[in-house]
Symmetry: C2
Subunit: 138 residues, 2 copies
DNA sequence: GTATTGCATCGACAGCTGTCGATACAGCTG
DNA sequence: CAGCTGTATCGACAGCTGTCGATGCAATAC
């Protein structure tokens, strides 16, 4: 990974943020970047981990809180947490004996905004699931 | 998969919808279900396909429009479209010679809502990325 | 009918992913 | 110091994923 995390975390340029993909096609670089984040969300254990962390008191949880709810081994949980961290979705820090994880809301917000459909246009498109205007496509 | 798609599409029960995972931990069933959708978004080609479809005139696009922008073969595009379809993210229909795909906004909205952080609470949590309350942890 | 075009499916294969047990490391306790 | 507990890393391995060329099927054109 090296400094890959930084490039992910430091993403404040508006290239991707706040421009739902419904508006204009994603360029390849943005797609690669976003796909990496979605891939981190593509596992049930990681999704539950994320929600456990996010919903935990204080917005953070130590690994000791995150291992028992699952049927998988501790190394596996540690692996999944690493994936979430390298995707820029969570932050972590050791405090004494325990390591704490917390969600990085900006990352979730970025993904959420991307998927956020401009309700007007998009819903119209679905309402006419079989658009009558097929004529314009020939 | 068989009729698995239906169970995804027919999801109007409020179990998952509109309850961001920040509020309460996801149960395993919901996590498995959502992970399947995120997995469909976890590939750069599929993300770009989705945005090409969504941003295309009329909210739909035929496969002929979707093959040329990529460096991968036509069977590969077809495969990715199948993944998106089976994840319940897009719909498709053959009309004459061409097959058209369109985005299912409800599915995107569901994922978007899930990731939508209750800005107040979550941002607080990040603001204190190194919480001052570490004292309670020793 | 045959030929052609658009798209899907098949079979194969390299590479990635999730999982485990074993082990190493960090920090507390005595 | 030694011992213990909480996490991370390592190495291995089965299974999944993305990709391809070849092929099949559907609809139009001739």
């Amino acid at each position: 990974m090296s400094n890959l995390e930084l490039s992910i975390l430091g993403q404040d340029d508006a290239v991707v943020c706040c421009s739902p993909m419904v508006r204009e096609p994603l360029d390849e670089a943005a797609a690669v970047d976003l796909a990496r984040m979605f891939k981190a969300l593509s596992d049930p254990v990681r999704l539950r981990l994320l929600s456990l962390i996010a919903s935990h008191e204080g917005g953070e949880a130590c690994v000791c809180d995150l291992t028992s709810p699952f049927d998988v081994s501790q190394p596996t949980i540690s692996h999944h947490l690493k994936v979430l961290r390298e995707a820029g979705l969570v932050g972590s820090e050791r405090r004494g004996t325990w390591v704490y994880y917390w969600v990085l809301p900006a990352a979730l917000a970025r993904l959420s905004a991307l998927l956020e459909a401009p309700v007007g246009a998009a819903l119209d498109a679905q309402a006419v699931a079989v658009p009558a205007r097929a004529g314009g496509l020939t």
